[in-house]
């Protein structure tokens, strides 16, 4: 027998010397220490690293929220167009009451008047004295000029003042029916807000008929206030009882005097015999403080215009929200439709190639040759009357809008259609349609979606351009749009720059953020494209 002495001889190892290494052991791959992530999670991480895009995303979110919320909270309909408060600066009463003397105060309805004379200042203050709403926010500066007055030189002071444009209007004439007169009185009784102020007869104030703000005795026909020894204004309110009376025939055919009742708030210094209206041919002419009259007309709401009003008297805060809402929804809808059409078109082009590609390319070439403005005009002229202005507008954007998307999809299809996984699927008998949309398309989805984020600002931009030019008029349908607001702001640019400023800031912010966001998305989904601008 041969005994194995040498361990290095392996040729005749008896069976019993073998033992199982891992008979009952379970074999596993080593567990991954990190979490696995997919394509989108990976892109998300890359996106989050791009600070400016994240900020842009938050700004977009904020602007979207603004457009949803602002028409709800403002309480003012976009169709409400005030006839007096047009092109008025931003104003919030609560803020203005507290801080109107501060220079930084933004919501004080401030409007700067230059070279106001002493007597003009007195007139402004007189409005405040009567209505209790002083239009003079603050005196910004004063200059002294030498002027020749009756042959002698003397110093005349001129002031630069900032007025509250809402209070500045003061008192206006309104001619109302007897019922309306009673309703205003009811409103006064209910809220304790003085709307109607005592009537002043023209004969008492030098026959001045066109200035309802004069309630004091005047020196001349220009309305220069007369003051008493202490420098106070002397009221010129009428106490003539016949003002609120009219004559009519009663049932017996006799001429009787009928009194129009006024049983409501009276101003502070009223001895009890001031007349609060002037009856003329079936109606009452009254002096109302416009600020409180506004409250009466709008069911007690104050004219708190956060962004001011435009030249039509619309609240800009609401109008921007309404306009932006339309722009955003419109852009998303148009982009989505264009994406679908472009994807299918580009897929067919790219997948089949050859003659089909050539033919379809020609079609899209011809369509893209038509200037967009011509398309929009033609659609408006032909379809607006039949299907409405908005659908015709959408059609116009769709007619040529999908071409870019189609070109992009086509490129992606050319890239992927020859690859092995497509060949494998084809070998297994997948149909063309299945190959296109189940195998190739998902691979190009990243590129397509990111370019969609860059399409949206483009749509918003052209939409704003068209409404700005007035080629498409959305005012009847939506009340307004950003482009309309901008073109209205243009008309009142020198007197009310805010009417242009706020919509301009809004649209600029929106478009910049969308572009930043889109760039960030593209960089995140296609890291190889980073920094390439197209």
């Amino acid at each position: 027998m041969c005994v194995i002495m040498d361990n290095n001889v392996y040729e005749h190892i008896p069976a019993e010397q073998f033992e199982f290494q891992q008979l009952n052991a379970e074999l596993h791959d080593q567990k991954l220490e990190t979490k696995s992530r997919g394509y989108f999670a990976d892109a998300m991480i890359r996106f989050k690293k791009n600070k400016s895009s994240v900020v842009a995303a938050w700004i977009i979110l904020f602007l979207v929220m603004f457009s949803i919320i602002s028409p709800l909270v403002s309480g003012i309909s976009v169709r409400h167009m005030d006839t007096v408060y047009k092109s008025h600066p931003p104003f919030i009463k609560a803020v203005a009451d507290k801080f109107s003397d501060k220079n930084w105060c933004f919501w004080d309805g401030g409007y700067t008047h230059e070279s106001q004379s002493e007597s003009q200042l007195l007139v402004w203050n007189a409005i405040g004295e009567e209505t209790g709403l002083n239009p003079v926010n603050r005196v910004l500066g004063e200059t002294i000029q030498k002027e020749k007055y009756r042959g002698q030189w003397r110093d005349v002071k001129y002031y630069t003042i900032e007025n509250n444009k809402y209070y500045e209007r003061g008192v206006v004439y309104r001619t109302v029916s007897y019922e309306e007169f009673q309703r205003i009185q009811d409103f006064q009784n209910e809220t304790g807000v003085q709307v109607i102020y005592p009537y002043v007869e023209a004969k008492d104030i030098n026959d001045i008929k066109d200035n309802p703000n004069i309630w004091y005795q005047v020196k001349d026909a220009k309305g220069t206030p007369a003051v008493d020894a202490e420098g106070n204004l002397i009221p010129a309110y009428s106490t003539n009882p016949s003002l609120l009376q009219y004559k009519e025939y009663d049932d017996n055919g006799e001429l009787v005097t009928v009194e129009v009742p006024y049983n409501s708030l009276r101003i502070e210094n009223d001895p009890g015999n001031y007349m609060y209206g002037y009856v003329r041919s079936g109606s009452v002419t009254i002096r109302v403080c416009y600020f409180t009259y506004y409250q009466y007309v709008n069911e007690g709401r104050l004219p708190n215009y956060v962004f001011g009003t435009n030249s039509l008297g619309q609240d800009l805060f609401t109008a921007i929200g309404v306009g932006a809402r339309f722009s955003l929804i419109f852009a998303v809808v148009v982009s989505a439709i264009n994406l679908c059409i472009g994807a299918v078109y580009g897929a067919i082009q790219g997948y089949y190639g050859g003659a089909i590609d050539l033919f379809l390319d020609r079609v899209s070439d011809i369509l893209s040759g038509v200037p967009f403005i011509v398309v929009a005009t033609l659609f408006k002229l032909h379809l607006a009357a039949k299907v409405g202005i908005v659908p015709s507008f959408i059609f116009a954007f769709i007619l040529t809008g999908w071409i870019g998307m189609a070109a992009l999809t086509r490129k992606q299809f050319y890239r992927f259609k020859g690859q092995e996984f497509v060949l494998a699927a084809r070998t297994l008998g997948a149909s063309d349609w299945r190959l296109m949309f189940k195998h190739v398309f998902p691979n190009s989805l990243g590129t397509i979606v990111t370019s969609c984020a860059l399409v949206i600002p483009g749509v918003i931009n052209s939409e704003t351009n068209l409404t700005y030019l007035g080629i498409i008029n959305l005012q009847e349908v939506f009340g307004t749009s950003i482009g309309v607001l901008l073109s209205q702001g243009q008309t009142s640019m020198t007197s009310a720059p805010h009417a242009m400023l706020f919509p301009a800031i809004f649209i600029a912010l929106l478009l910049i953020s969308f572009n930043l966001f889109g760039n960030g998305l593209r960089d995140a989904f296609n890291p190889s494209m980073r920094g390439v601008e197209d």
Binding site: G369, V370, Y468, I471, M493, M500, A504, G531, E533, D534
Partner: protein
């Protein structure tokens, strides 16, 4: 190459023909402008419409239209805006204002744009590059009327340097006229500068990192030599065609800027013809805009081939 050029031009002409035909038919489908019976010209207008075939099928109308264009260069007469005037002459008269403003604008802004782009590319990833790129992005995103508004408000209203609107009249080459054009020129320039800065920067950064630049440096060229001789020339392959494109685009101008600064140009004519509505003028303008657009794109495409032999070879396959 010649074959390629001819092929492209013929294709463009076919496209132009189809577009004009489509637009013509779509416009003629609309009811023509009404003429009140009291109008002394009512009879003439009716006769003229009869001659143009307003009661005949649309394709016949298009035939008549083409015939009068090719034989008499007659594009029709204006219906509402300039009643009875030849639309081509009106368009022609409106050209100088548009061309002049746009020409000034691109003459100023193309060099600035390219220089800014070069600076940004050479100083890539420094604060200079970041500033330029950010500003470019902002200007490209913001619609032109926003900065037109800023310019008008600052320079015309607050500072009072320039008039609000362009001066009326046809004395296009006076100093006064130029001053009144400045706000419009500035507003137009922003977009052009930003566009060229972006293209130049993107192109030059790509060229600067390519391998032949490394080779040039290895051969012993200084950085400046390599940049000027190799990088710029390659970057111009892309920039030059868009310069040609801009020069063609000069004629079409910008509707918005012309409206804001009331430039009596083609854009304003176009908007007026839509709002009037004046269909013969509209057809004329549509043809004009379409041909300018197509011409610009074909010039851009062909100039690529002329400038860069590699692209020319590619087109021959």
């Amino acid at each position: 190459m010649l074959k390629y050029v001819i092929q492209r031009v013929v294709l463009m002409l076919i496209t132009l023909f189809i577009i004009t035909g489509m637009c013509f038919i779509l416009i003629r489908m609309l009811p023509p402008a009404t003429v009140s019976p009291e109008d002394p010209h009512a009879e003439i207008v009716e006769l003229r419409r009869e001659a143009l075939g307003y009661n005949k099928p649309l394709l016949v109308q298009f035939g008549i239209f083409l015939k009068s264009v090719f034989t008499k260069w007659d594009w029709g007469v204006s219906d509402k805006l300039y009643v009875g005037r030849d639309v081509f002459k009106m368009l022609y008269q409106k050209m100088p204002a548009t061309v002049l403003v746009n020409l000034y604008s691109i003459l100023i802004s193309i060099p600035i744009g390219i220089i800014l782009g070069i600076i940004a590319a050479l100083k890539k990833n420094t604060w200079i590059d970041h500033t330029i790129s950010t500003l470019t992005m902002v200007v490209i995103s913001v619609p032109s009327f926003v900065y037109a508004f800023v310019i008008q408000y600052l320079f015309s209203y607050k500072l009072g340097w320039f008039p609000f609107l362009m001066k009326a009249g046809t004395d296009y080459f006076t100093w006064e006229m130029f001053v009144s054009m400045v706000p419009a020129i500035m507003s137009l320039s922003f977009g052009v500068i930003a566009g060229f800065t972006r293209t130049t920067r993107a192109e030059l950064t790509e060229v600067l990192t390519s391998e032949f630049m490394l080779l040039a440096r290895t051969k012993g060229l200084t950085k400046a030599q390599a940049t000027v001789r190799h990088a710029f020339r390659n970057c111009m392959v892309v920039v030059l065609p868009s310069i040609f494109g801009s020069f063609i685009g000069v004629m079409s101008g910008s509707l918005i800027i012309e409206k804001i600064f009331s430039i009596p140009g083609v854009g304003q004519l176009y908007i007026n013809s839509i709002n009037a509505p004046d269909y013969p003028m509209f057809i004329m303008n549509t043809f004009f805009y379409t041909s300018i657009g197509l011409a610009a794109s074909i010039v851009v495409d062909l100039s690529y081939g002329f400038i860069d032999p590699r692209i020319r070879m590619g087109s021959k396959k």
